[in-house]
Amino acid sequence: MEKFGQHTGRALPLRLSNVDTDQIIPAVYLKRITRTGFEDGLFAAWRNDPDFVLNQPEYDGASVLVAGPDFGTGSSREHAVWALRDYGFKVIISPRFADIFRGNAGKQGLLAVQVTDDVVKRLWDVTAANPATEVTVDLHSRTITADNLVADFEIDDYTRWRFLEGLDDIDITLSHEAQISTYEGHRASHKPLTLGR
């Protein structure tokens, strides 16, 4: 995972709540066994509509997605994060994220930033008024800046540290291998094994 300190880019206002992962990428795109190249599946059904915000040329190259509450609900498919990442998004801003989506985003260096409904509405207004507005998301100071708007966001210290350092979870966990082995030595004997005893 690459280090993430600060990102500045134009923002795409997605004025919808409950954007589930089936909308972010439909199931038919999940048959692939690669980990990249999912940008064509991003919002595949909605992109058929010429009026869909992603089809508006003034938002070309936007790298910050600003969505309504309950973003990323439903299926656990990490493909949703891969599709957003492959399309070029670096930050998703929403008043509330589904747990699994936020976890998946965190593994891929896609920053999920939770703010109040009010901040989302103001970001929508700012970016609608001027799609060229640059939005800066600063992980050091935990702030979002866009035009005259400056808003704090909360993120837990651990996730923030992992992003700032660009750390891989598996490496961190494997540094605690001795404790895992100790735990395994004390597991109850009645716990099931899939391969027989």
């Binding site: 439909p26 048959k31 961190i172 966990t173 597991r187 009645h190």
Partner: protein, 477 residues
Amino acid sequence: MTATTPRTLAHKVWDEHVVRSAPGEPDLLYIDLHLVHEVTSPQAFEGLREAGRSVRRPDLTLATEDHNIPTVDVDKPIADPVSRAQVQALRDNCAEFGIRLHPLGDLEQGIVHVVGPQLGLTQPGMTVVCGDSHTSTHGAFGALAFGIGTSEVEHVLATQTLPQARPKTMAVNVDGGLPLGVSAKDLVLALIAQVGTGAGQGYIVEYRGEAIRELSMEARMTICNMSIEWGAKAGLIAPDQTTFGYLKGRQLAPAGADWDAAVEHWRSLVTDDGATFDHEVTIEAATLSTFVTWGTNPGQGVPLSGEVPAPSSYPDGPARVSAERALEYMRLSAGTKMRDIVVDTVFVGSCTNGRIEDLRAVAEVMEGRQVSPSVQMLVVPGSTRVRLQAEEEGLDKVFLAAGAQWRAAGCSMCLGMNPDQLTDGERSASTSNRNFEGRQGKGGRTHLVSPVVAAATAVTGHLASPADLPSTPKRRA
């Protein structure tokens, strides 16, 4: 925390699995069972290979093929080359890393969340994960079970652990007994409509109360399965005699002295008197009735006796916008009676309602009746074992005689990944778990229903309950 501090069931199971705990860091949780399927695992195995890592505990891992497989011609090679390649990747990966796999055609093959319980592999007090959001199903046994993404699948394969922040706990108290004819599916759909799709976010939920205690294991699985549909991290139910009775004698359940030791421990897995939840929700079971969805998220539901709501009945803001958009997508107008909604497809199956009790309930309604000529009905068992059991009981003959299609086991039309899909504009009554836009096929429209509502709807061609059907000659006898 001392041993005498009253704790919730969720925190007891959590505490038992903490490998490492440090201030300011998530707990490192040990995973007792990792279930794997073909769709969310190939990139995880590839990651292991790239890093030169092995699977730490293949003996705590089990794979099955379910999401991306056909439900017809299952003895032939998979026709879609992309699907075939993905299924082959799972077979190659399981062979390479020494993982037990139940492939298409195997007696134990089926939807991962049906297979685990029926093998006796899902047991109280365990931690269970899978690269699938409906892993919450296994919570019905008093296990802490939740869905994970592919990077986490790789993490569990490599370490048999996951770093997890300790969630808050919530109680859903269902007071009183369920009225006659009201199923677990109705209960959970009504709950989600009441609390909203985001209400469980950040919580492990414990379902409690008389109505829950009275449910069979399979009905409890239906409830816990849909925990994710209102955003919960996991949903669980304290194990009891119903749980022990279901498990005893199953292939991978403990036996002999191990069984006694296990049951002794399992009996301790209850929320202590005096333990507090961070939040509580109460539902009066007596107020519940048959429930169906009208919209495009599982919280957009009403009683079958009700009508499509007006968006203006929702508070101004995202909920109202979402309702407006849902009505447009579903091609419905406010005020339409739910019973007047005509469907062309009925799907019975999925990890929510694809078990033997569900199929029995559907067959009981279908017996001596015909699927409406304007409806196609798919009955897809949750596992090969469920299929064989249904055939032993003659349920398949009831479905076929009624004009329904009887398929092989898999996820099928629940998620529209295999050829079983709605086409643009088709409308289904479905026993599955998600009514998202295009979930069952691009442009398809989904109404979530219970098994008996699916059956009655197949007969009438519009949303209906068994009580709406004229009695059959056999019934009068």
